[in-house]
Structures are given as C-alpha cells and as structure tokens.
C-alpha cells in the first residue's frame, strides 16, 4: 500500500524537478544565438470522452493533464513519450503512460510557423488498461526555431483493447518548449 504511494510520489517529484530545472536550462541555452534542439518538454490539457455508458469507461472522470518529452528527427517526424495523470478528484489515482509517432504534414523548414500533425500511439494505464490512439492536430504554431510549438484542438480516437470500445480524446491546448 505504502510502496504504491511511494512510487507515485517519486513520479510526481521527478516531473516537478524536470519542470523546475527548465528555466535554468533555458538561461544557459540563451547564451548562444540558436541553441534550440529538436527535443522538447511538452504539456497539454487532456479530456477523455467515453462513448456509451460512463460506468464502463476505462477512464475514471476527472481532471487530467499530459506531460512528456518530444523529439523531432528529420523534417516530418515527431516521437513523443508522455504520461497522463489524474489530478482531481484523487491525485495520481490513475496514470496512463504512452508513446506516439507523429507526422508533421508540411515539411519543417527553418522558421516555418504553421503546420498540422497526424499521430498514432498507445496508452497503458496503471490498472493495465491498454488503449490504441489515433490523433489529428489541425493547427500547430511554431517549431524548434521558435523554441516552442503550440498545438490547438487535437482530437483523438482511442480504442480500448480489453473492452473493445471507442473513446474520444481532446487536447484543446498543448505547448512544447524546445530545449
């Protein structure tokens, strides 16, 4: 019982350490002109909509957020590793870990600003829920050259492999800060 909470609290501490060291890393990076890499920290809102009866939903109702790492190899690809914890009503009572591979529709040129992304990935919950994920982000502003990317109105379709049912996922706002 206590071991489970200890693991959860260590995860929370790890996430916050990453968030808190980001400004310090920024301060060093800004010493040079264009120090942004293709690696970034990503944060977003995350809303799950269960289709059908809510009591069957693999995702308990609550406030969730998504935080993780993004890597942009090449001109189109994006690879993300992230976690989606529940914040309310009970902090970290459910956590999903996931990964995705995205494709930026327009080629990422130097200083290109507008784009759109399609992604495929998976989510794995602490209660062993397994979800496949397809997402589309119609509006992306920014790229590593700007040191940030803002993604708006991401809509995802989740497939629960155990219960054989579909859910919706909505990420109204996501921000990636490139290191």
């Amino acid at each position: 019982m206590y071991g489970k909470y200890r693991i959860k609290s260590r995860l929370v501490v790890l996430v916050w350490v990453i968030i808190l060291i980001l400004p310090a890393r920024d301060a060093e990076a800004f010493g040079s002109d264009n120090a942004a890499s293709g690696v970034g920290l990503t944060f977003s809102t995350n809303t799950f909509y269960g289709s059908g009866r809510s009591e069957d939903s693999p995702v308990p109702p609550g406030l969730y957020y998504r935080g993780g790492l993004a890597w942009l190899p090449g001109k189109h690809l994006e690879i993300e590793l992230y976690h989606i914890p529940q914040i309310t009503p009970r902090l970290y009572s459910q956590v999903f870990f996931g990964g995705s591979v995205g494709y930026w529709i327009l080629e990422r040129k130097e200083n290109s600003y507008l784009n759109a992304i399609v992604e495929a990935g998976f989510l794995y919950g602490l209660d062993r829920t397994k979800l496949l994920n397809l997402k589309i982000t119609p509006i992306v502003f920014g790229c590593p050259a700007f040191r940030y990317a803002e993604k708006f109105c991401t809509v995802g379709l989740l497939f629960d492999l155990d219960r054989k049912r579909l859910l919706w996922q909505l990420q109204l706002l996501a921000v990636t800060l490139y290191l």
């Binding site: 920024d26 301060a27 609550g62």
Partner: protein, 180 residues
C-alpha cells in the same frame, strides 16, 4: 507590528516601479477582458468529479505594481462528463502580489514577461442556488506576457463553516486575455 506590511508594501513599490515591471507597458491601456481555463475538484468539495471549463469576464481596474486587484465573474461548465448539474457560477477576486520582470523568458516569448504570483478568493454557487462553496486561491506560477496573464497549476482550498478545510480544487491552466 501593524506597520510592517505597510513598510514592505512601500519597499516593493520602491524597488518595482510600475513602468518597468508591467509587461503591458507603461500606459497599460487595458481595463479587462476574457478568461478561460480548465479545473477540477477533490471529492469533498461538492461538484461532481470531472473536468471543468471555466470562462468569463474579468476587470483589472488599477495599474499598480504591487497588490494589484482583479475581479472575475464567469461560469464553470462540466466538460467531461458533460453534466449540467455540475454547472456553477463563479465570482472571484484576485490580487497580483507583485510583477517581477523575468528577463530570460524574453528569449522564449520575444516580449517582456513578468512573474506575477497571486492570491485570491472565490465564491461558487449552483444556478438554482441549491449549493454554494467558498474557497481561497493560491497561484504561484502566474506569468504576465503581452496582453495576457497565464496561470499554470493554481490551487484552491475550499472552506467549510466551522470545520476548516473541506476539500481542494486545481486549475490546470488559465488564460486571461485583455480585450478592452
């Protein structure tokens, strides 16, 4: 002892004059605008478990570098699950403790940014006034950039009459954009 807060306030005014600290510029032509955000509540607070969209109008009538007040009025709308029983009217007052310029963020956002932690209080009530709640708010991660104030991870402590704390709430992200 009562003089200490006044002295602290005067010192803060001295060290952070308005024209240097305010990200909106020396004139600060704005009075108010729209705000929107995402929040949720712990089990004991009353509203059903879920994710809530908060949206409404705000006014920041004064242009002072410390203890700058803002007033908000809006609604909480349950997003997931979409349950109209969870709708609440929100009336709140917030106090920006101080606007501290953050120079290294200029390389990220290209304009002057200020670290603007805040505190506040809010009153939530159901549309039919069948239930209500009062909470105090702490917003340590608040940044004023351009014509907006962005809050990440603010915590609300809900108070119950006589028994102290009743539960807590969490605002994941809130954007207040000046429009008028």
């Amino acid at each position: 002892m009562r003089r200490i807060p006044v002295i602290l306030l005067l010192l803060l005014c001295l060290f952070f004059p308005a024209d240097e600290t305010c990200a909106l510029g020396a004139e600060k032509p704005w009075f108010g605008g729209l705000y929107t955000g995402f929040c949720g509540f712990s089990e004991q607070t009353g509203p059903p478990a879920g994710e809530y969209l908060t949206a409404g109008l705000f006014a920041e009538p004064l242009n002072i570098p410390v203890l700058n007040p803002a007033f908000l009025c809006g609604v909480l709308i349950p997003l997931s699950p979409a349950n109209t029983g969870g709708m609440r009217v929100q009336v709140a007052a917030e106090l920006t403790i101080v606007d501290l310029p953050v120079s290294f963020l200029k390389n990220r956002f290209y304009i002057t940014s200020c670290f603007s932690p805040g505190v506040g209080a809010q009153y939530l009530f159901a549309l039919d006034y069948s239930t209500s709640a009062f909470s105090v708010l702490i917003a340590p991660l608040r940044i004023r950039v351009g014509d907006g104030v962005f809050t990440v991870g603010s915590v609300e402590l809900f108070l119950a009459e006589g028994t102290g704390a009743r539960g807590w709430g969490f605002t994941l992200f809130k954007a207040a954009l000046f429009l008028f």
